[in-house]
C-alpha cells in the first residue's frame, strides 16, 4: 500500500534520512523501531508531506506523494498522529475531533456527526470531557484524542509517531488495545515505537531505522531471534 523508495531528507547540510526503503502492506500493523535521532520522526513528517525529501519516491496505492502539500497527502487517505504536539490546546475536545474531519466538513456534515458519535462510543472518556479544553487533558487522554482526531479523517493508513511516549504503563496498555481494535476494524497502521516489547505483541512486520538507513526488515519472529536487536531493544527480558 505504501512504498518508500530511496528517500533522502536533509536539514540544511545534514542528511537525516540517507536513502530509506520500506513498504507497508494493507491491513497490517507495521512497526518502525530505532534509537533516538535515527530519523523516525523525520520519515513520518516526510510521508505526511510536511518535510520535503531531496530524493526518492513515496508511492501510496500508485499515487506519488513526494511533492504533494500536506493537505493533498491527507486527501489521499493518510492521517498522522504526531509525537509531542498532539492537540489544539485552547480548543475543546469536540472541536479537536471536528478538526480532524476538516476536509469532509463542507460536504458530509451528517456523516461527520455520526463519526463523532462513534468516536465518543469508542473513547467514552472523551465524551465525558467533550466540552473541556484539550490542553487540560492528561497525557494519555491527549494521546487518545489525537488518535480519535486522526480517525475522524477516515484514513486508509494511520501513521502513529511514538504513541506510548511518556505514558503510564496502564495507559500504554490502553493505547495498544486501541491499536489492535483499529486493526481489527480494517485500518492499516504504520507505527513508530521505542517500546519494542509492546510492539512485538501487535505488529506484523518490523523495520529498524539506524542513522537514516533501514538496517533490519523482518517478522516478529525474525526480530526476536536477531541477537543485536535483542541486546539493543529487548534487553535481558527477551532472553528469558
Amino acid at each position: 500500500m505504501l512504498e518508500v523508495r530511496g528517500i533522502v531528507t536533509s536539514y540544511g547540510k545534514i542528511e537525516a534520512l540517507r536513502g530509506v526503503d520500506l513498504s507497508v502492506e494493507e491491513g497490517r500493523i507495521t512497526c518502525l523501531l530505532g534509537p533516538n535521532g535515527a530519523g523516525k520522526t523525520t520519515l513520518m513528517m516526510t510521508i505526511a508531506g510536511i518535510l520535503n525529501p531531496s530524493r526518492g519516491s513515496i508511492g501510496f496505492d500508485g499515487v506519488e506523494l513526494v511533492g504533494l502539500t500536506p493537505s493533498r497527502v491527507v486527501r489521499q487517505g493518510i492521517a498522522l498522529v504526531p509525537e509531542n504536539r498532539l492537540v489544539f490546546p485552547d480548543m475543546n475536545v469536540r472541536e479537536n475531533l471536528l478538526a480532524g474531519a476538516f476536509l469532509r466538513l463542507a460536504g458530509e456534515r451528517a456523516e461527520v456527526d455520526r463519526d463523532l458519535d462513534r468516536m465518543f462510543d469508542r473513547f467514552p472518556r472523551l465524551r465525558e470531557r467533550a466540552e473541556q479544553n484539550a490542553g487540560t487533558l492528561s497525557g494519555g487522554e491527549q494521546q487518545m484524542l489525537a488518535v480519535a482526531r486522526a480517525l475522524m479523517a477516515r484514513p486508509r493508513l494511520l501513521l502513529m509517531d511514538e504513541p506510548s511516549l511518556g505514558l503510564a504503563p496502564l495507559m500504554v496498555e490502553e493505547i495498544f488495545r486501541i491499536i489492535r481494535d483499529l486493526h481489527r476494524d480494517g485500518t492499516s497502521i504504520f507505527l513508530v515505537e521505542q517500546n519494542a516489547h509492546m510492539a512485538l505483541q501487535v505488529a506484523h512486520r518490523f523495520f529498524l531505522l539506524e542513522q537514516g538507513r533501514v538496517t533490519f526488515d523482518g517478522t516478529p519472529g525474525e526480530l526476536a531471534e536477531d541477537e543485536v536487536i535483542q541486546r539493543a531493544y529487548l534487553g535481558s527480558r527477551a532472553n528469558g
Binding site: Y11, G12, I14, T41, M45, P82, N84, R85
Partner: protein, 299 residues
C-alpha cells in the same frame, strides 16, 4: 566621487553610533532569543538621569556618563524582571509585546518627570572638525567610532576569555544542556541583560553628548536604529551588529546627500523590510533554510 567617498566616511561615523546601539541589542537577543523593544527607552531614561545629575549638580562629563549608565542598567533590570524573567520560557513573542508595553510606560514617566521637550546634555568635546586632504571628520565621531571598536573587543574578550562568557555562550547555544551542567540560567541571563544595558548606557551617553541635548523621542530613535542595524547584520551576531550599523550609516549618509533628508528613514525601513523578507537572518545570521531546520528540530 569625492562626495561619495566623504559620504561613506560620514556614514561610517554615523553608523558607529548605530553599531554601538546594536551591540547591546544583539547581546540580549543572542542570549535569550528574545527581542527587547524597551532597549532604546531604557537608555533614554538613563540619559535623563545623566541630565538630572548635570543640571542639579553641574557635574562633569564622567559623572554624567556614570549616571547615564547606572540609570540605563537600573531601568534595564526593571524591564528584564517584568518582561523576560516573569514570562515563561518559549514565549518570545509575549516578551516582545510586553517590552513594547513597558516602552509606553517609560516614555510617559519621562514626559511627566521632565515636562519640557528638550533638555541640555554636556557635550563630548568642543573641538573643530579635522581636515584630511579633501575630507573632514568630526572629533566626536572619531571618539564614537573608537568606542564602538573598543566595546566590541571588550565584549569579545568577555565572551571568549572569561568563565562568565563561557556560561553566557552555553546558555545562548543550548539552555537545556546548560541547565543540566548546573548553570543558573536566570542568573546568567540577568547578568547578560545588565551588561547589555550598560553597553546601551555607554552608547546612549556618547550619542546624546554628541547631540548636546536629549528629548523623550530618543528612545524610539535608539530602538529603531539599533534594531535595524542588528537585523541587517543578523540577530545575535556581534560582528554583524557592527557591520549592520556601519551599512545602515553609509546607506543613510548617501541617501541624505542624494535624495534629501525626507527619504532617510524611509530607506532605512525599506532596507529592513527587504532584508526581513529575503534574508531574515541578516548578513551573518542563519539563512532561512537553516532557521527552518532549527524550527523543525523542535517539532
Amino acid at each position: 566621487m569625492i562626495d561619495f567617498v566623504q559620504n561613506c566616511f560620514d556614514g561610517v561615523m554615523l553608523g558607529s553610533s548605530y553599531a554601538l546601539l546594536a551591540i547591546g541589542f544583539t547581546l540580549i537577543f543572542g542570549v535569550m532569543r528574545r527581542l527587547n523593544l524597551s532597549y532604546g527607552p531604557s537608555i533614554m531614561l538613563g540619559a535623563f538621569v545623566g541630565t538630572l545629575v548635570f543640571l542639579e549638580f553641574r557635574a562633569g562629563g564622567l559623572a554624567v556618563a556614570a549616571a547615564t549608565v547606572v540609570g540605563a542598567v537600573l531601568v534595564g533590570i526593571y524591564v528584564e524582571r517584568l518582561c523576560f524573567w516573569a514570562i515563561r520560557q518559549g514565549a518570545a513573542v509575549a516578551s516582545m509585546v510586553s517590552s513594547f508595553a513597558i516602552w509606553m510606560q517609560l516614555e510617559e514617566v519621562v514626559t511627566i518627570a521632565f515636562p519640557d521637550r528638550t533638555y541640555p546634555f554636556p557635550p563630548l568635546t568642543r573641538t573643530e572638525p579635522m581636515d584630511f586632504g579633501p575630507f573632514f571628520f568630526k572629533v566626536e565621531n572619531l571618539i564614537m567610532f573608537a568606542c564602538a571598536v573598543a566595546l566590541t573587543l571588550g565584549l569579545h574578550l568577555l565572551l571568549y576569555r572569561t568563565r562568565f562568557g563561557l556560561r553566557i555562550r552555553a546558555v545562548a547555544e543550548n539552555p537545556d544542556a546548560a541547565r543540566y551542567m548546573g548553570i543558573n540560567i536566570a542568573a546568567v541571563t540577568f547578568l547578560a541583560f545588565a551588561c547589555a544595558s550598560a553597553i546601551g548606557g555607554i552608547a546612549g551617553y556618547l550619542i546624546v553628548a554628541q547631540d548636546g541635548q536629549i528629548t523623550p523621542l530618543f528612545g524610539l530613535w535608539a530602538t529603531f536604529k539599533g534594531l535595524i542595524a542588528m537585523m541587517l547584520g543578523g540577530m545575535g551576531s556581534i560582528p554583524g551588529a557592527i557591520l549592520g550599523g556601519l551599512l545602515l550609516g553609509v546607506v543613510e549618509a548617501q541617501n541624505i546627500w542624494y535624495l534629501g533628508t525626507e527619504y532617510r528613514d524611509l530607506c532605512a525601513y525599506a532596507l529592513l523590510f527587504v532584508f526581513l523578507v529575503f534574508r531574515p537572518g541578516g548578513m551573518f545570521g542563519h539563512t532561512l533554510a537553516e532557521r527552518e531546520r532549527l524550527a523543525l528540530r523542535r517539532v
